[in-house]
């Protein structure tokens, strides 16, 4: 039996003042699936994320989160969503705990419920001891962990991550990649991870290669490699993006 669809994107196009940022994008993600959205800078990844999070309006095409249309059933759809944006969105002057409590309140959680969920997520990320530290005092890797914990507090069905490992050192990157992949398996969570780093892809992941606003290929790692007659995913990515530019 197929897992339920967490994210459905259908015929999605978007333009900034006449210039197409996304052109007829179609894909879906099922529960428990980790999908890597691969594309060079300017491919349209962040635009796609802004549309899924309803920061931008969907004018052409449709986006559904767990069956809820983002345009018509915005609140129900957003309740299913956890997001880690590319830029850090934590309040530097507040502590880890205060930042997480703020988020819990935005999702209507009671104090007791929030305390319990914060404890669970911080434990999972090995951050409990740091809960009373100000964000300013944390390094980049730890800040990212807090953001991931925050995105998971309200138990979303879909986790969006927009290049969350940019600027992190190798061990921090590895920890985050590992943690998110584990979430997909253990919690049956759907993950959409935007990246331009090939080494963040696991063999079991699904891939979407986005270039100049269009999907160039999608499928499992093997399928994308087969489609491009490439021996590695790096080569496939090169063929799908650089090849065209040349």
């Amino acid at each position: 039996m197929k897992a339920p669809i967490a994210l459905l994107v259908k015929n999605l196009s978007f333009s900034y003042s006449g210039k197409k940022a996304l052109d007829d994008v179609n894909f879906k993600i099922q529960q428990g699936e980790c999908t890597i959205l691969l594309g060079p800078n300017g491919a349209g990844k962040s635009t796609l994320f802004s549309l899924i999070t309803r920061l931008y309006d969907t004018r052409s095409g449709r986006i559904e989160l767990c069956g809820f249309d983002i345009k018509r059933q915005t609140r129900k759809a957003l309740a299913k969503l956890g997001v880690v944006f590319q830029q850090t969105t934590l309040d530097m002057d507040l502590t880890v705990m205060q930042n997480l409590r703020y988020h819990a309140s935005l999702h209507g959680m009671s104090r007791k419920q929030a305390t319990q969920r914060i404890q669970e997520e911080l434990e999972r990320l090995d951050m409990v001891d740091r809960r009373f530290e100000q964000i300013r005092e944390l390094n980049g890797g730890h800040r990212r962990r807090v953001e991931i914990a925050r995105a998971l507090l309200h138990k979303p069905s879909l986790l969006l991550l927009d290049e969350p490992t940019v600027g992190l050192d190798v061990p921090s990157r590895h920890d985050i990649v590992e943690h998110v992949h584990r979430l997909a398996v253990e919690q049956q969570m759907a993950v959409l991870w935007a990246s331009h780093l090939i080494d963040e892809i696991y063999p079991q992941d699904r891939l979407i290669v986005l270039h100049k606003g269009r999907i160039k290929a999608q499928g499992t790692v093997d399928e994308v490699q087969a489609l491009t007659h490439a021996a590695t995913i790096k080569e496939a990515f090169y063929k799908l993006t650089q090849g065209e530019q040349a």
């Binding site: 900034y16 962040s46 635009t47 994320f49 802004s50 999070t53 309803r54 920061l55 931008y56 309006d57 915005t74 609140r75 129900k76 957003l78 309740a79 969503l81 997001v83 944006f85 590319q86 830029q87 850090t88 969105t89 934590l90 309040d91 002057d93 507040l94 205060q98 409590r101 703020y102 988020h103 819990a104 309140s105 935005l106 999702h107 209507g108 959680m109 009671s110 927009d162």
Partner: protein, 267 residues
């Protein structure tokens, strides 16, 4: 359950804003120094130059410092409203605005909560200012300090909504200097904060009309009357209508379908 969600979110937003204000000591001090300099230096200097006739809500001759105090309260709220909008532009640039915007509540409600939070901060500032003014012997009837609270809420909301509206237009933090020149200063100087209307009329009919229809003047008058236990109906209606108009425009400004969010690009 749903109502509880709204309540918790609103309280969370207000708490965050108050906490940030309390921990940013420099902001607290500078918010107080500005009106106090006006009170202790400017008003003291003008005391001799300006003669004020008895006009409502005052029942006797008053010192210029007494006249200017509601205007300086307005100044605190005006700067605070603009400061809130500045922090929203900053939040948007830094991304934390996105976290607010992707939570599952109506945007209008989230913006209103943000506005209430900013107003709460401004009210704290005003009461500290009034306490200092009390020791400087600018003393209103004690009930006036209670009466003024709802007036401060409305004027704070109106000026905050104006700031919110401006923040939906401002693309970058750097553009905020323009707000100082083209919004704060004209609003403040072309109002009844510093001089009564009849005094302005003596010098210029045009200036008089501008001051009369300036929503900031109405907010100042609402506060002035409330501080002396009187209700200025005209000022109340004017301030309330201005608040509604600014708020609706700000909500439209932040609406992804119609507003300026798309034009801002980013990502």
């Amino acid at each position: 359950m749903k109502l509880l969600h709204y309540w918790r979110a609103m309280w969370g937003i207000i708490w965050r804003e108050l906490w940030r204000f309390v921990t940013q000591r420099e902001r607290f001090i500078s918010a107080l120094v500005r009106p106090l300099v006006w009170l202790f230096v400017f008003a003291a200097g003008f005391r001799a130059a300006l003669g004020l006739a008895i006009t409502p809500p005052y029942e006797t001759y008053i010192l210029y410092e007494v006249y200017i105090t509601p205007g300086l309260i307005g100044m605190i709220q005006l700067f605070n409203g603009m400061q809130s909008s500045l922090s929203m532009v900053y939040d948007r640039e830094m991304g934390s605005m996105r976290i607010l915007m992707v939570c599952p509540l109506p945007r209008g409600f989230l913006l209103l909560s943000k506005l209430l939070a900013g107003t709460a901060v401004s009210i704290v500032q005003v009461y500290v200012f009034l306490a200092i003014a009390w020791f400087y012997e600018i003393q209103a009837p004690w009930q006036g300090y209670l009466w003024v609270l709802p007036a401060l809420m409305l004027s704070g909301l109106m000026l905050g909504a104006l700031g919110l509206l401006l923040s939906s237009f401002i693309k970058q933090l750097e553009n905020f200097a323009g707000v100082m020149n083209f919004v704060i200063f004209p609003l403040f100087f072309m109002s009844t904060a510093l001089y009564p209307l009849w005094k302005i009329k003596e010098s210029s009919e045009l200036l008089h009309n501008l001051a009369k229809y300036n929503p900031f003047s109405q907010a100042v008058e609402l506060t002035r009357f409330a501080l002396y236990e009187q209700f200025n109906q005209e000022a109340f209606i004017y301030t309330f209508v201005a608040f509604v108009i600014f708020m609706i425009a700000a909500i439209i400004g932040y609406n992804p379908s119609r507003g300026m969010m798309v034009r801002k690009g980013g990502g």
